[in-house]
Subunit: 365 residues, 4 copies
Amino acid sequence: MSSSFGHLFRISTFGESHGGGVGVVIDGCPPGISVNESVIQLELDRRRPGQSEIVTPRKEADTAEILSGLHDGVTLGTPIAIVVKNTDQRPNAYDEMAVKYRPSHADYTYDAKYGLRAPSGGGRASARETIGRVAAAAVAKKVLDALHPGIEVLAWVKSIHDLNATVDPETVSFETIEGNIVRTGDPAMVEPMIERIKQVRGEGNSVGGVVECVIRNCPPGLGEPVFDKLEAELARAMLSLPATKGFEIGSGFAGTLLTGSQHNDPFRMIDGKVRTTSNRSGGIQGGISNGENIVFRVAFKPTATIMSSQETVTSSGENTDLAGRGRHDACVLPRAVPMVEAMATLVVCDHFLRQRAQCGGILRP
Amino acid sequence: MSSSFGHLFRISTFGESHGGGVGVVIDGCPPGISVNESVIQLELDRRRPGQSEIVTPRKEADTAEILSGLHDGVTLGTPIAIVVKNTDQRPNAYDEMAVKYRPSHADYTYDAKYGLRAPSGGGRASARETIGRVAAAAVAKKVLDALHPGIEVLAWVKSIHDLNATVDPETVSFETIEGNIVRTGDPAMVEPMIERIKQVRGEGNSVGGVVECVIRNCPPGLGEPVFDKLEAELARAMLSLPATKGFEIGSGFAGTLLTGSQHNDPFRMIDGKVRTTSNRSGGIQGGISNGENIVFRVAFKPTATIMSSQETVTSSGENTDLAGRGRHDACVLPRAVPMVEAMATLVVCDHFLRQRAQCGGILRP
Amino acid sequence: MSSSFGHLFRISTFGESHGGGVGVVIDGCPPGISVNESVIQLELDRRRPGQSEIVTPRKEADTAEILSGLHDGVTLGTPIAIVVKNTDQRPNAYDEMAVKYRPSHADYTYDAKYGLRAPSGGGRASARETIGRVAAAAVAKKVLDALHPGIEVLAWVKSIHDLNATVDPETVSFETIEGNIVRTGDPAMVEPMIERIKQVRGEGNSVGGVVECVIRNCPPGLGEPVFDKLEAELARAMLSLPATKGFEIGSGFAGTLLTGSQHNDPFRMIDGKVRTTSNRSGGIQGGISNGENIVFRVAFKPTATIMSSQETVTSSGENTDLAGRGRHDACVLPRAVPMVEAMATLVVCDHFLRQRAQCGGILRP
Amino acid sequence: MSSSFGHLFRISTFGESHGGGVGVVIDGCPPGISVNESVIQLELDRRRPGQSEIVTPRKEADTAEILSGLHDGVTLGTPIAIVVKNTDQRPNAYDEMAVKYRPSHADYTYDAKYGLRAPSGGGRASARETIGRVAAAAVAKKVLDALHPGIEVLAWVKSIHDLNATVDPETVSFETIEGNIVRTGDPAMVEPMIERIKQVRGEGNSVGGVVECVIRNCPPGLGEPVFDKLEAELARAMLSLPATKGFEIGSGFAGTLLTGSQHNDPFRMIDGKVRTTSNRSGGIQGGISNGENIVFRVAFKPTATIMSSQETVTSSGENTDLAGRGRHDACVLPRAVPMVEAMATLVVCDHFLRQRAQCGGILRP
């Protein structure tokens, strides 16, 4: 079950960096939703390599093909299979890595778990695996648009290395974010961030950073009280993305420096709705959305593949050295933005259907 | 499915702060494991209210009764049901709260989700719900001890408010932690932390903090490559605990300030094993344990119940004020320590069985 | 997961014939449903031993206690735990059986699976395990009554040994069935069936038979196209009951003797609805209910416990003989009727919620 | 979840009779198992149309392509995606059926469930959906061969219409069954059965029948005590196949005509093993395999598509008539044989992994 996500809007991804292709099967999609390949392609293009000068120059068209589940551009309620063929494989590029474990990659742990692994390209640990997630989330977005219009999931680069963007989750727009190749929400930080990425890339090094995400107009009532708290599901979703090291919601770790009287969100009636006048809760209370903006942050470590020589061992147990080669992102953050949005969208869509199942739908729209 | 956790060692908790009791059913427990009520009681006693001068003075014996799944002190492989009766109920203590939503509690969101709620004590959002988790984890610990001896799960208070403990996850001992009522691993911080808790309690206020946890001697190979990455499962487990706002593993958010060459963990052969000479990965690479210590941190917000008057609304939609009353923790951290350990133990036990199912067991013990 | 059933209305049963008690936890129950202990008790009383002269004389009050999930007689949407304490245990009655495998019981297979077993009373293979199912189904029935009134699940004894009842699934009433201790729907067969049971009991022998069940007023659209076809779920539900050997729906095995032109159910518009003028499909087509009566039959083997001496082996591997002792049903059919109804009700309730989740509810009420 | 099957060896099928193709994703497959496309193709060829003169003349090559999860002909432990492209689509052949509900097909119920459906070929209700099952089972068979050699799953046509084959489940061979196009195990019935199928086909009519299946050398201990009893899982698996109306195991419905003393299977020690000297239990007791042959039967109704005119209605609610056209099986039984084997293999493989997870493997090999 490693490769399935969601309880009612359930996706199962497959595929490695080598082999025929990658993709996803979506089970449980409501019928009658307008979906086509271009809707999916739009999101895949935001995720794919080669889209700008600061991401890996690998050229992968990542063309989505829908094999099932649709008729005349409308979902049938049956499983939707989406496949993206692998095209730009360079198996030889990985010859050295087949015997030497790349530091802070999954090479060693795959061997330790399975007793074997595909010697090229990272297998399921490749960022290519996220293609299936992004494709499925494009469908989930259409489901939400049809069943509860207005929910908006928007992510941006909050920091790269020690460069911090100043972004207001209430007001930042998709146009602002998508209007720069870093995908930050702070125009003033675009150039510094681009420069930093180019600099570390020039040094054969890499950097990480933080992606922030807001879910706007999420209706109250999504999420479950105990193990499937909405924040728990978001945390799992985000930590399932490659290279992530942390998740925080609302006040997050900084909230531990406040007292209760500083931290609590007062309730007020506003326009006939129960609202909070601050949002340190981050839009979720007791595991359930309260109608405020859901705001969270995800930490991405610096890319593990660097060009300088590092100590490592071979799969046969000898100490050695290894320097990265080939085409890699010196910073995954710009491409991580659509991945974070995808996972958040999948969580919301799944919980929307769960709410419909148990309680008949959104009680306070 | 809100109340179930785990795929193969599967627990289902039940119970509210009101009503007959709380508990858990464990399905999938291996047969032949020695378990009895005192093993469970030991852990429940670390979790229960009234155990020291800095936690809530509520007196709840929290006595565990095992209804099924055992014979002669040994598990049968069939479901283990454990019940703890509710005894110290004071329904009247909650009369005001029945109509006024407590700020930053789950009162409003339960109403928004279900259209109704029990008017007393927080329902499933009560910390009492964690009794079932702690009881189940006591069984999971016995399973791991029997099937793969040596795994040690240890948590401690890393910070309270702005007071930070200095603790070495490699060496800190259960005796050190359990030897002080704060459950911190830094003897020098015990008194300052106790003072801080007493001070904010005296002011009718509350504080939060961070719990850190290490899993020692976890064998390589646990965890799954994609959605069920070990860190993703830990993140979900921790964010499912009441009052949590963040999770980070290994280098965490601070790791985003490093470059790749600073962050990567070099591999070396040590005593015939593949080891890393640093541990910024936090013991997990590509979602799978690598044999190093698994180290993570969990942020707990300041307790929502405070004694000062706060703005809120009634369930019928009128602005009003509310001051907390009754017996509450001014700081949940000391009692959160066994909860964090419990959830981590459940995750490891479940993934141990998953590894056994798919790969036949631990390949590199 | 052996002990869980249902995807959205999910029950987890626990408990053995020995030990503290048996019961069930229901997760996913819609909120706002009126439920109380007497609703559950009513169904348990139909299932319990000692209710008439033709069932086992064991005296078990089987009193249901609801521990959680309700407030003021209404479901909260949180897990409902129901416990029935064990009272009439006679561990000594099973001394001989602890070492000798009872033929056609689960004694040997439990040992083979788990390497150990509780030496008394059959453990989870005891019919007592069905208490949790019947209790949960009493709640499911209330859910269906509230969300889609009119669905009626009715079972009866169709045959005992070679005695066949003539019953019309369209018209047979609960009063007719419940009005006789055999629970057959054919008044003419009541006395012969009672006589047969008494006769075989007098001979220390046992008999089996067939239970037939109808689900009336089931709306069209319940069930899923592939693995979770409504008939597949019913088949699994029924074969999970103790002592069952077969399941057939609509025309069943006899339908294989017809040609397609004899077997197909013609469609006609009747009162503005799509109806079939015959019902060899048994109310389900392509895995999905079509609005006609769902009719199926379940075969129950003769009770395995008989009083005559039989060849068997000991748990240490020696040939021996064993004669049954104690108090047992010579025919389980009368008590199987409420069990069949319970499982059918659970299946329908679960699929009703699934339909609500994916398609927004019943499209053709 | 309609389209997923299995708990640990989990398959998710997708695809309709129209659209790009059909296939399956297998999650949880053990690593290191030798698999290739020809292993899969072999089983698909037994299932495909056009293989003999008594099945539908549709020509579909049904060529399997493995997209992921393998390296150098060995499973990696990651998801295995298998796709079969649709080639022989004749959308126009279904024009009339797009508006008229075919009697005893799923056309009406799909509309009733989803509010829409693909107007051609039956969608997921098409027998093409079983391609994914058969492909996945070919992999499951390799898993069992590697982890527990000797298990043999063998099915045959037991009856067609009123023609009954005499077959001994202990001794019938794959060669005998596969050596005739009916796939019966009784050489004497081959010609009569072929004649009957040709005759009803000539009349534009159809017939059904019974498939019998044996699982030989299944080790004791597979299956779970309560809801996931091995027979319950087999029943669900079989009733999920298109056109099935009944399932019985061991003595089945006929067993209800025996008394307990006639029905019970005596235990004896034979060659140091616990064996039964009869097998009315059908190889399963209390939901768990006992080491004897598992024997069950599945009823298939006569094919719904017939050439004579039948009463039906249009999707807009008008009475009308419809005669089948196009290329169809007059009897699905020969092609159902590999489907029954496939589903049985999937159940056994899944439970083998479950046993390994909970109990460490087969305790009595």
